[in-house]
């Protein structure tokens, strides 16, 4: 590897954070901090540096710190992302602007109430439905059938997609992209028998038809899930009344 990738060159960052403490504040307000940051630092590292050394009252959620647990979704310079997946070197300019994700009630600082989000998720029956007696070993599934829903198995429920969606901002009854992604994961699983029930749930003004194909969800997804495409596939299944494949499954080379 090039040594440049590991070279560190500290820079000064202005960190602007939208703060709200329900025990003290009537309304959210901005606070600014200045800190030194390594280009290889994650935005999460910068926030924690501010919290640990300057202002411990700052509240955020975080856990794994490498983009797999989905705790630290926030608006970073106006765009939804996980704070642990954006490096300082990818931040343009000298100011880092941080806000809670939109469309969910703010509890404190960068923390929002995730309950409405998880309620939407649970509403699509996000679990395998198959009451046929299971074999003594695994149910068989071809590599092509497995590839059919691979994309949507990657979801970590971070809410970056749903809270980047303009229709969701204006209508919080809309199930939102993440719930549809998780419905897709089962609708297109050859082992599942509950596709029709889920399609019935999503065939609603507050289901897939609220989607206006804005593509914000796709660009926000930290797992690179083609969210808008998954939603379109569910819409097409509803229109065509079929969950047959409408694109070639990934070509898989098996060992």
């Amino acid at each position: 590897m090039s040594t440049a990738a590991l070279a560190s060159d500290m820079r000064t960052l202005k960190v602007k954070i939208k703060r709200y403490n329900p025990e003290l504040d009537e309304a959210p307000h901005w606070e600014e901090y200045t800190t030194e940051a390594d280009p290889l630092d994650r935005v999460l590292d910068v926030i924690q540096k501010v919290k640990w050394y300057q202002d411990e009252t700052l509240a955020l959620r975080r856990s794994c710190a490498h983009g797999v647990c989905g705790s630290d979704a926030m608006r970073i310079n106006g765009v939804n992302a996980l704070a642990c997946k954006i490096l300082v070197r990818n931040v343009k300019g000298d100011t880092l602007t941080l806000e809670p994700i939109l469309g969910l009630p703010v509890i404190k600082d960068l923390i929002v109430d995730m309950k409405p989000f998880f309620d939407h998720y649970k509403s699509v029956m996000p679990f395998l439905i198959n009451d046929e007696p299971a074999p003594t070993t695994e149910r068989l599934q071809s590599p092509a059938d497995r590839a059919r829903f691979d994309e949507t198995t990657k979801c970590i429920l971070c809410a970056c997609c749903t809270t980047a969606c303009p229709p969701f901002w204006s209508d919080n009854k809309y199930v939102g992209p993440a719930a549809i992604v998780n419905a897709h994961r089962f609708i297109f699983d050859s082992r599942d028998r509950g596709a029709q029930e889920r399609l019935d749930i999503l065939n609603d003004a507050e289901g897939v038809w609220r989607c206006r194909t804005v593509f914000n969800c796709t660009s926000a997804c930290p797992r690179d899930i083609k969210v808008t495409q998954a939603i379109s596939e569910v819409k097409r299944a509803l229109l065509g009344g079929s969950i047959e494949m409408d694109r070639d499954p990934l070509q898989i080379i098996e060992a």
């Binding site: 640990w52 050394y53 490498h66 797999v68 647990c69 490096l87 070993t137 149910r139 497995r146 990934l250």
Partner: protein, 605 residues
Amino acid sequence: MNYHRFDSIIVGAGGAGLMAALESSKSVGTAVVSKLYPTRSHTGAAQGGIAAALSNLEEDSWENHAYDTIKGGDFLVDQTAAEILCREAIDAIYDLEHMGLPFDRTADGRISQRRFGGHTKPSPDGSGKRVPVMRACHAADRTGHMILQTLYQQCIKQGVTFFDEFHMLDLIMEDGECHGIVAIEIATGELHTFHAKSVLLSTGGFGRIFKVSSNAYALTGDGPAIAWRHGVPLEDMEFFQFHPTGIYRLGILLSEACRGDGGIMFNGKGERFMETYAPNMKDLASRDVCSRAIYQEVRAGRGVGGKDYVYLDIRAETINKYGTSPTGGTVDSHWVEHRLPDIIDFARTYLGVDPIKEPMPIQPTAHYAMGGVPTNIDTEVIRDPSGTVVPGLYSAGESACVSVHGANRLGTNSLVDLVVFGKRAGRAMAEHARQTKFSTKPIDPEAPTKQLIEGVLARPRTEPWVKIRDEMQRTMMDNCGVYRTGETLTTAKNDIAQLQSRYKSTGVQDKGSVFNTGLLEVLELGCLLDLAEATVASALARKESRGAHSREDFPDRDDTNFFGHTLVYRVGEGETSIAYKDVDVITLEKDGQVTTKYPLEIRKY
């Protein structure tokens, strides 16, 4: 008092906790209390696979798996537990598949399997040598994510009760029995009492005692630390696994599946150094062996550019050049990308390195606690070398020590442990709940917790608590890491004692109730400090080298004096005592002759 009553209370919503919840809630009232939303648990970060001898791609047996597990643990493994693990792994995998887990598939539609370090079978050529075997069932390099999601999905289906973002701060113990827990509701700062007949500690690991770790911030060992404060011993704390391939500086895990699929480690001179340290298994030797090898290379000045890291190379051209693909055939970049998509994403994101084109800089990273709360094979917590049970208290997963991992865990066996012993925990807890009555309602169980919190809030902030944490992590990394000596451990012991005292004199800035994460981080640090203390005390007492515990002043394994599990007790402020518990050894009797089923051998790969 916010009072709740359930037959079973499960603390922690990772793989072990959710598995136990699914099992327990089938027959008794069950609730899961977790400081994180369940899907944030660190089981979701597990990557490469979950082992079970399914024989889907080649002949294998659970007996092979059990032998590997016992040898991998440098014979400190309890053998009955290991046999349960490997035998029950097979049905556990089928259960997960039936729950919907999207395993990768073989061409004929069965669950796909790959190689992993230390997983072997006897060579088919009859030479007596052991060769790598494809035993790890996988879903790309996000197997743990799929397990966590699948178990949570099943909990939703089954209507399991969750208290999300409730942080356990105390156990309710009376006369040596456990009657519940006290937790803080993070969103309000209110305390809640959960009165129960059975309590499971499935709180995960505590890798955050070290500076470079693959562990999540949340992994602060709350379960083991709180049990320890109540007089429960901790078992085998000196055995902490350093995973050889962490991302340089950050410690983020790069799965062993990289090497299972043919990846190779190189030193700064471009040499495949594992040929020296493990001539037979090479890069697929077990993790402790590989991590020591990296340290040796770096010490000898053969790190990359003379620095403290080496390379992990998963380029198709490298795999093909060395003939290390699992099938022996050639592979291309597309194959690598399909098998290891998240690894490639991590390297691109955090290193700016494209592993399809370049090797990745890696160093060992603190990864997994083999030790923890001692339990028997039914996950009941035990309090002494003779196995006396603490009624009502259970533990499973990384927070427990059953012990199936002994002195060093094999890759993929942590996930097997979660599902097998998580399920056994749920069953045992429900059984216990059916057979016992609720204790009388505990009187003022929240008092000690209130006192603890008020103490922290009342103290002036003499220094940022994070400095104490950083110093703890540094001394543990430098003095109680891959290599230790009596001298470095004594330094660590003194450092921890000094940090404990500084800890008691500093407070927090935030005095509020809603999401006071600063307060919780301080309380978590208290747990980490206690666990660091227990780890160092156990490591000082064990004057031998075994598995992940490498004493440079005692470089050999000493079966005469140390063939036993450490139990470390807290006897007072900064004071510990040590006892040893026999290793469970399976004996065979034939024609009046008694032999051991897994005879001790020198561990070589």
